[in-house]
């Protein structure tokens, strides 16, 4: 069972796959097909619940780990305005993590359990956050490309069949689109700046382009969860469809910035109106997912350290709350 452990001891037995009848499954699928929202207390197949817990918790973990590459430039942001904007953005990410953990909790898994799974390495987060932010332009590139890719993925999730997730995503998407514009604006400023700044912007695009395309996940043929998620309307578009949409939109933006997409094979197919691109290096993607990206160890070490360093604080808060409760009783 995924991210369940002791939290769900009672429910596991009742909801075990073997006890789900064909009638129940058909009735559930009929609700999905009728575009009804599934709510926390509604009956749902165990596999649907597990898929959502996996997806929502991965998304939450990505928000939390994603604070690190951007946090890397907070103390060094070039102006007070940029510092404030970046700080607000990183704070939004912590907030997204919080809503998403809450949305996942409606499926009967505790935040503590999800965090434990992240720290043990059992749960994953988005591969993109294992790349380093080496210059200020990377902050622009992350906003423009990474948040841009995230929005492509997330807008359809606002119509996800699971109500609490869909509602969380509506709020998150509004903030993400703001972040994306802020990132683009950083790039625009750099591209209108000195030669060194333009070079910095191009270098950031060179390094973040391919990892951003990988954010949509493996090709459709290789995506192991996609078909069932589409049937359940957790997912509305395939990985490749979303990736194509992202490329089509982003190429024009790069042209506007005066930057070159680092792909010699990129060309517009006049007939389809879509851009063709070179093959993605899936070996790199799977290596990063397996823990061998440039920053996997660093990100996890920092997360674990924060958790461990905070243990005495959480313990103190608990002890104090217990003392207060005992006094009040």
């Amino acid at each position: 069972m995924y991210t369940q452990g002791l939290d769900q001891a009672g429910r596991d037995a009742a909801g075990a796959a073997g006890e789900e009848t064909a009638e129940q499954l058909d009735a559930f699928q009929a609700r999905i097909d009728a575009e009804e929202k599934i709510e926390a207390k509604d009956w749902m197949p165990e596999a649907y619940r597990r898929t959502l817990v996996r997806q929502i918790s991965q998304h939450a973990h990505s928000e939390i780990i994603g604070m690190q590459p951007e946090g890397n430039w907070l103390t060094r942001a070039p102006t007070l305005k940029r510092k404030a904007i970046l700080l607000a953005k990183v704070q939004d990410e912590a907030g997204h993590g919080l809503y998403l953990y809450s949305a996942a909790e409606t499926l009967g898994v505790s935040r503590d359990q999800m965090v434990a799974d992240l720290l043990s390495g059992k749960a994953k987060y988005s591969s993109i956050f294992n790349y380093p932010t080496l210059t200020w332009a990377d902050i622009g590139a992350i906003g423009w490309l990474v948040d841009g890719a995230a929005i492509m993925n997330q807008i359809p999730l606002c119509r996800c069949s699971y109500g609490p997730y869909a509602r969380a995503m509506i709020r998150i998407c509004k903030e993400e689109s703001f972040h994306q514009r802020q990132g683009f604006e950083i790039m625009l400023t750099l591209c209108g700046g000195t030669d060194e700044q333009k070079a910095m912007a191009q270098d950031a695009l060179n390094r973040f382009w391919w990892p951003s395309l990988m954010m949509f996940g493996p090709n459709d043929a290789a995506s192991k969860h996609s078909a069932q998620s589409m049937k359940w309307k957790i997912k509305r578009f395939s990985n490749d469809e979303l990736r194509q949409k992202f490329i089509d939109v982003t190429v024009a933006q790069a042209e506007f910035l005066g930057l070159t997409i680092p792909d010699d094979g990129l060309r517009l197919d006049e007939e389809s109106g879509h851009y063709e691109h070179s093959d993605i290096d899936w070996e790199e993607f799977f290596e990063v997912i397996a823990g061998n990206g440039p920053c996997n160890r660093q990100r996890m070490a920092k997360r674990r350290k924060a958790h461990d360093d905070g243990a005495w604080v959480r313990e103190a808060a608990r002890a104090y709350a217990e003392k207060k409760a005992a006094k009040a009783a």
Binding site: M67, Q68, L80, R82, A84, G310, R314
Partner: protein
């Protein structure tokens, strides 16, 4: 000192306190003990950065030489920074950060309160706005101090040590220098004698509730208000000013 130079220097000092504390708090981003605290910390740091921007803009306007908020933040050498030594002190753990913030906010809230009634309209407006934020920060840091002080034996011991270590930086807040006097007399600015009494009241009440011991007033460090900082300050500014110093004149 002329009226304008008093206001410029005073607003700069306020901006420096806010910026330096904000910069220290930013170091806690993605390192807080709990997700809710992550949000609170970033939110408060954002308040301080916002206040620094307002105070520097005000300083630049009263100076009248066209200096922007960023000129104040990024292009001054260390000795021109006039923040309290307290706010530049590094933290080795969450308890240090809470105590640093608590001791400062208990002072700063009263300082802003008084400043909201000063004769300079611009500064008074900023202070009236900032004090609402700082009162909230003070409530937050007070609550944490109580939780940590009256939590476990370990947390009590840790936070008592933080308090003992940082106490020697509190005296400087109430040392009235020439600028404080000029601000008080010529602009109806804060009176540090009154503020110290209010500060002691707040601090001893919370420390008592936290079951901690009020440190004794021994030797007090000072110099921040005159631009003589601790060894930590140079590193803080090196990070803060890195891009502006590496690429002079670039727009960001």
């Amino acid at each position: 000192m002329t009226d304008r130079s008093i206001l410029t220097a005073y607003a700069t000092r306020l901006g420096d306190n806010a910026l330096v504390l904000g910069q220290r708090m930013i170091e806690f981003v993605a390192a807080s003990p709990e997700l809710e605290e992550e949000l609170a910390n970033a939110n408060f740091a954002l308040d301080y950065i916002g206040q620094a921007r307002m105070f520097y803009t005000c300083a630049g306007e009263s100076e009248g030489k066209g200096r922007s908020e960023d000129d104040f933040a990024f292009l001054r050498p260390e000795h021109e920074y006039r923040n309290l030594l307290l706010v530049e002190q590094p933290h080795s753990h969450f308890g240090d950060a809470i105590v640093r913030q608590f001791l400062f906010d208990a002072f700063y809230a009263h300082q802003l309160d008084a400043l909201a009634h000063c004769a300079d309209e611009g500064l008074a407006e900023i202070a009236a706005r900032a004090v609402k934020e700082v009162r909230y920060h003070l409530r937050h840091s007070s609550q944490w101090l109580v939780r940590l002080g009256d939590g476990t034996a370990e947390s009590h011991e840790r936070v008592q040590r933080s308090l003992d270590d940082l106490w020697r930086f509190t005296g400087e807040m109430f040392d009235e220098d020439e600028l404080d006097t000029a601000m008080r007399k010529d602009h109806n600015g804060p009176c540090l004698v009154f503020i110290e009494a209010e500060w002691r009241d707040t601090v001893s009440r919370v420390i008592d509730e936290a079951t901690l011991s009020l440190p004794e007033d021994g030797w007090m460090a000072s110099g921040g208000k005159q631009g003589r900082h601790s060894e930590h300050m140079g590193f803080l500014l090196a990070e803060l000013q890195y891009l502006q110093r590496t690429y002079p004149g670039a727009s960001w």
